[in-house]
Symmetry: C2
């Protein structure tokens, strides 16, 4: 439990934030002072949209009951989930949850009788990190998430920037002429094909095929190579594999290319890097900081901080709870 | 005179916007409905800081007198000038005007007895374009100014983004490994050394030295080559010089490299390109649009507009008047 000071909610009621993932639902009840009072983690029910919604509503009621909070004192529930939320209609489409053009917010509002916000889970994670984690106290925060895919989130004075068409943040799909991998989006050369955990695994497989030797090569002979993941590359790095170190450093340099112009345009206080690739730690962050500094005027280098995320799997719970209180769009 | 509808000021009083340039002061009196009522352009008095301030105050009083507006109905004066304005102290340092750590706003406040804002002239030009020119009606506007130097300005819902340390927008000083010119800032390889009017002249001189032929080469034999400017390159382009066309296209591609990552991160509605290089028109804009589209997912390409600035030399007058009314920092 974090002993945070409140952000933006003194004198308000209770709020709940939930990260509805493919495997687990993680939920948190926050007090009027913004503190996380109780946390709940349950396997995600994926049998149908209505059963998943019923589970979400149950978790909310249970959290209130366990803390002895009257339902009427709940102000809002914020949900983060992996999917696309149409900004006009609020319809949710999620390839990995049983939602296809489904009105999650309005249905939940019916079940719980409080305002509901629904937003993309990665955005909510960065929003939580920005307001309650690594970004606490900073006005201008750029979050970069490097998981299976990659994306960015710009938060200015606590406000999540959505952009034209809600498209802000898809930096995974900018193209560089010297990247030649086919991307799942249908294009060739997207940054995400290298700067992501899948991209690191891809680069590792290619490097091994080209003859790199070391712990990673020993562990993954040709017949096992398809199973290689970014976690294996990280383990090999910790086992002293020079090639694994090189992969994280090269990936950091590619990321820097995308960050440098935006840093100059926005002058953020802080860049928070989250997701699986950030777990590589120093080898990745040092290469990233060096490459970013190399591309910028010293005035930026002196001010800008580049840090890992702090809240772990709870970031989305903090983020969706804050969003439910602070944000207006799609609150029904 | 523009017949604009009002932006953000119904029921308020009159306001004055001024662009204090090295050669001219251009000033405009705006009515309570936001319309430009009267405009004045005078040579800049550069003999001393106090004489320049007296001139600025005179222009303001004259504008009011000519329109028969009582001084008491003036709400605010906004000034844009070429220089650095320290955000804490409001001190202005300008290499080309007689201001060295000079408190322009507080002195003018003393002379005119209304709230004064002072901001960088290029930012005020883009702010004016965003609110009253090419960007009217758009929420997310990225302005790029390509003059002797280059810079960017991000305006979100009418709010000018300053960034950490007021450093947002110095995209001229991001470095690319394949640019090798020394920049005035002390670094090597800054984008501004190629993407600016001075950069176009530099590339032209280098190309002529390398043996390019055509109208530009004919007009600038070796002994005249130092005098070559971007305007000459533009004239050569209009005279059918293939090398001149190539220079604008290559410059557009360099600019696209800096724009693509930021477009993906922010998803602007509109990018406004202003400054001397934008005068090249179609040859530059078509190459820019193609290079930007090539780097982005089709979803962005379909939505994003890239347009030239519209307000000409009055943009800064509109911008500083709007800023005086809308913005709070440094208003004394």
């Amino acid at each position: 439990m974090r002993e945070d000071t409140l952000i933006g909610g003194i004198g308000m009621g209770y709020r709940i934030g939930m990260a509805v993932g493919v495997t687990y639902v993680i939920a948190g009840l926050f007090g009027p002072d913004g503190r996380l009072l109780r946390r709940e983690k349950r396997p995600t029910v994926r049998s149908s949209s209505s059963e998943l919604l019923a589970e979400v509503a149950d978790i909310a009621r249970d959290l209130l009951a366990q803390e002895g909070v009257d339902n009427g004192r709940l102000d809002a529930v914020g949900i983060g989930l992996p999917g696309f939320i149409e900004s006009d209609t609020g319809l949710v489409t999620s390839a990995n949850l049983p939602f296809g053009e489904f009105p999650v917010a309005s249905r939940l509002r019916h079940l719980l009788d409080v305002p509901i916000t629904v937003h993309n889970d990665v955005k909510m994670t960065v929003y939580g990190e920005s307001l309650r984690g690594a970004g606490r106290g900073y006005a201008y925060v750029l979050g970069v998430t490097l998981g299976t895919g990659m994306s960015s989130t710009w938060i200015s004075n606590g406000k999540l920037h959505e952009g034209n068409g809600g498209l802000a943040g898809e930096i995974g799909h900018i193209r560089f002429p010297d990247i030649s991998y086919a991307c799942g989006c249908g294009m060739i050369g997207c940054l995400e094909t290298v700067v992501s955990s899948s991209g690191i695994a891809r680069q590792a497989r290619e490097g091994l095929a080209a003859g790199w030797i070391g712990p990673l090569a020993d562990r993954f002979p040709l017949e096992l190579r398809d199973e290689l993941t970014a976690i294996d590359v990280l383990e090999a790095y910790h086992a002293g594999d020079a090639f694994a170190a090189h992969l994280f450093q090269r990936t950091a340099k590619w990321l820097a290319r995308a960050l440098v112009p935006t840093i100059a345009m926005l002058s953020p206080d802080l860049i928070i890097i989250g997701g699986g690739v950030a777990a590589a730690g120093e080898v990745f962050f040092e290469a990233l900081k060096t490459a970013v500094a190399d591309g910028l005027h010293p005035l930026y280098r002196e001010r800008l901080l580049i840090v890992p995320s702090q809240l772990g799997e709870d970031a989305g719970v903090y983020g969706s709870a804050e969003y439910a209180v602070n944000a207006m769009p799609m609150k029904v």
